[in-house]
Structure formats: structure tokens, C-alpha cells
């Protein structure tokens, strides 16, 4: 690995170049880690749901705890109407979590540290939530931009602010995850570089810092997946139960 802390985010082709029309859809290291993440998820949850023992074994317990964790998160934030979207939010949470966690292993690639990946996810959520909102409430969904109990004189301003905040949702959602992952990994790389450059004499301080950062980054990896999923739930809640 190069000393450049940003080189860990480089995407490179694995195998031949695949082109469909004008588009390059070659298999890259990003694709590899997407496949590793999804296959691990499917393996773990397949193993965890195979046998139905009254007293679950570890992997079954893991699968069931994750299931109830996500189910509780959805029912707490979006209510019972969000039940049809459980599978999507569960997949989303697990995908982001596993991509983040695989990124914590040295020499791996962090799929979620790329803005395009998080932006595609966020844009899909944004479009999906908007479509659900319009299907459920028709044009009444536009009432989302008109909060109740606001003085009439402030209304034009508030509506503009609400529309801007609504439109900025996919950007904030994607940039939050991407920036957190990128910043954390860059920091770790930088401190790793300090350990080498300061050598055996002065390297202990950045090394201890690096150890602490690793713990923090694992927390961040979980937390960002959780935040991503819970924000999706909140947006879904806006679309399903129009509060304003």
C-alpha cells in the first residue's frame, strides 16, 4: 500500500474490462467487496434460519436478534404501516453494516466510503419514499411542506425551507455515511503512517491513538449503518403517516 492515505479508496479493475454499450461495468474491488458482504449476510441469515430450535444456537440467536432489532427500530419510528418495507430496511441496514465492518479489516476496500454508492442508495430511498407518499396521500403529500401552526406571514419562507430540506435529504443521507467512512479510514491510515515514520522511538503515541481509533471506527461503522437505516425509517414515516 502506498503512503498516500487516499490510495485505499482507489477502485481498480479485477479481471477483464466488461463493456455494455458505452458503459464500463467491469468487475472491480468494490464489486468484490459488495459480493463478499452480501454473500456473508445471506450465509449468516440462511444458517440462522435453517433450524428452528426452541433453544437457539449462536448463529440463530444472532439472526433473530438482528431481526427483532430492526423490526423494533421500524415499528418505533414508522409504526405498523411500515411493515411491508421491513425487508428493504433490513437489507439496507445489513448491507451498510457489513460493508462498513468489512472495511475495518486491514487491506480491504470500504464500499460505503464511495459517494456514488451511498448516493445511489440514498437517491433510491428518496425517490421510493416520495413515490410512496404520493401514492398514499395523492397531492395531499405536499402538505408535508406546510407545517401546521405557522403564522401566515412566515409561511412562504417556511415552505421554501421545508422544500429545500426535503430535497437535501438524499445528499445529507449519502454524504453523512460516505464522509464518516472516508474520514475515519483516512485518519487511521494517517496515524498508521505516523507510526512508521516516527519509528520505534516516537511511534508508540500514534500507535496507541490508532488502537483507540480502531475501536471508535468500529463504533462509527455500526452507528452509521444504524443512522442510515433509522433515517430511512423516519423518511418513510413522513410518507406513511403525514404529520404536518
Amino acid at each position: 500500500m502506498a503512503a498516500n492515505p487516499m490510495s485505499q479508496f482507489d477502485v481498480y479493475r479485477i479481471g477483464p474490462e466488461i463493456k455494455v454499450g458505452a458503459f464500463d461495468i467491469s468487475f472491480t474491488n468494490a464489486s468484490l467487496f459488495m459480493i463478499i458482504s452480501t454473500v456473508s449476510i445471506l450465509l449468516i441469515f440462511n444458517l440462522g434460519s435453517k433450524k428452528n430450535a426452541i433453544l437457539p444456537n449462536k448463529i440463530q440467536l444472532l439472526a433473530e436478534l438482528s431481526y427483532t432489532f430492526v423490526a423494533k427500530m421500524i415499528s418505533d419510528t414508522a409504526g405498523s404501516k411500515a411493515k411491508p418495507y421491513f425487508a428493504f430496511i433490513f437489507s439496507l441496514f445489513m448491507f451498510v453494516l457489513f460493508c462498513n465492518m468489512f472495511g475495518m479489516i486491514p487491506y480491504t476496500f470500504t464500499v460505503t466510503s464511495h459517494i456514488i454508492v451511498t448516493f445511489v442508495l440514498a437517491a433510491f430511498i428518496f425517490i421510493g419514499v416520495t413515490v410512496i407518499g404520493f401514492i398514499k396521500h395523492g397531492f395531499g403529500y405536499l402538505k408535508l411542506f406546510v407545517p401546521s401552526g405557522v403564522p401566515a406571514i412566515l409561511l412562504p419562507l417556511i415552505v421554501v425551507i421545508e422544500i429545500i430540506s426535503y430535497l437535501s435529504r438524499p445528499i445529507s443521507l449519502s454524504v453523512r455515511l460516505f464522509a464518516n467512512m472516508m474520514a475515519g479510514h483516512t485518519m487511521m491510515k494517517v496515524f498508521g503512517g505516523f507510526v512508521i515514520s516516527l519509528g520505534i522511538v516516537g511511534g508508540w503515541l500514534p500507535l496507541s491513538f490508532s488502537v483507540a481509533l480502531t475501536g471508535l471506527e468500529i463504533l462509527v461503522a455500526f452507528l452509521q449503518a444504524y443512522v442510515f437505516a433509522i433515517l430511512t425509517c423516519i423518511y418513510l414515516n413522513d410518507a406513511l403517516n403525514l404529520h404536518h
Binding site: 461495468i25 468487475f27 468494490a30 464489486s31 459480493i35 434460519s49 454508492v117
Partner: protein, 196 residues
């Protein structure tokens, strides 16, 4: 001191990142659109397949497992509750049986005691009556003996006195005069011996 070093390090690291951004062509590899389409394609492919498999195959199974476990546990709890109630009613029945048999035993005991007391009383009455009868008879006999005693004594006294007089005087004494004297004496002393 340590804090200062940390702050320096953080500052340096930011500086380093900035340098890196400046050095690379375009800075961040994330902003290089070369593989964007590839990433979107593979993301949609892998995420889509994962979503389909999870939602169609795995998640229903997990939810089914959870439901069946829940219902089974509830059933078990219900069965346990029922068994507990059963055992409680059985215990109550048992207590009642014990209580009933106790009162029965008590009644039996009381009955037997009453009967025994009655028997004893009846027997005692009979015995008392017998004893009373015997006492009465004995008293009657004693009375009869007592009634006869003075006459016999008087007779003995008369006989002895006439014999004595005959021996002493050597002459026949009129029996009637002796009996008069004895009667007189016995009447005078009789009260002393046979005081009624």
C-alpha cells in the same frame, strides 16, 4: 504536554490530508467517475439479489421461527398454568378429604365414647341397685337379729340366774319372779347396749 502533542498530531494529519488531496489528480478517488457506472451496476445487482433472497426466502423463515417459538412458549406456559391449577384443585380435594375423615373419626370417637359411658352408667346403675338391695337385706337381717337378741339374752339370763340360784340356794325359785327381775334389769340396761 501529552494533550499538546495530540493536538499537534491532529493538526498535522489534517495538513497531510490536504496535501494528499492537492497532490492527487482530482484529489479523492471517490470523485473519479471512471468506475461509477460499474459501482452502480454491481451495487444494484448485489443489493437486489440480496434483497430478493432475504425478503422471499430468509426473513419469512426467521419470522416464522420467532412466531412458532413464541406460540410454543405461550402454549407451554398455558399448559404449566393449567397443571398448576389442576394440582391446586387436587390439593384442595385432598385437604377436604382429610378434613372430612377427621370429622368422621371425631364423630365416631364421640359416639363410641357416649356408648361406652352409657353402658358403664347402665351397668353401674344395675350394680348400685344390687348393692342397695343387698345392703337393705343385710340391714333387715341385722334388724331381725337385733330384734331377737334381747329376748334370747333375757332367756339366757333367766336360765343362768335360775341355775345359779338353784346352785346357790339349792331350792327351786319361781320362774316368773326371776323373769320379772331380769326383764326389769334388761329394760333398765337395754338402752345402754342396744340404744336405738
Amino acid at each position: 504536554m501529552v494533550k499538546k502533542i495530540y493536538l499537534h498530531l491532529i493538526f498535522l494529519s489534517f495538513f497531510f490530508i490536504k496535501e494528499a488531496f492537492a497532490a492527487e489528480s482530482g484529489g479523492m478517488p471517490q470523485l473519479n467517475p471512471e468506475f461509477w457506472v460499474s459501482q452502480i451496476f454491481w451495487l444494484v445487482l448485489t443489493f437486489g439479489i440480496m434483497y430478493l433472497v432475504l425478503s422471499k426466502l430468509i426473513l419469512p423463515k426467521i419470522s416464522n421461527n420467532l412466531e412458532s417459538r413464541k406460540s410454543q412458549i405461550l402454549e407451554n406456559i398455558e399448559a404449566a398454568e393449567k397443571q398448576r391449577e389442576d394440582s391446586e384443585t387436587k390439593l384442595k380435594e385432598y385437604d377436604q378429604i382429610i378434613l372430612k375423615s377427621k370429622t368422621e373419626a371425631n364423630a365416631m370417637f364421640n359416639q363410641a365414647r357416649e356408648k361406652a359411658v352409657k353402658d358403664i352408667n347402665a351397668k353401674r346403675d344395675v350394680l348400685d341397685k344390687q348393692i342397695d338391695d343387698e345392703i337393705a337385706q343385710a340391714e333387715k337381717e341385722i334388724q331381725a337379729l337385733r330384734d331377737n337378741a334381747p329376748d334370747k339374752i333375757n332367756k339366757i339370763a333367766r336360765d343362768t340366774s335360775s341355775e345359779l340360784l338353784q346352785k346357790l340356794i339349792g331350792a327351786e325359785v319361781n320362774n316368773s319372779s326371776i323373769s320379772a327381775i331380769v326383764d326389769d334389769l334388761s329394760k333398765r340396761n337395754g338402752d345402754k347396749y342396744y340404744g336405738n
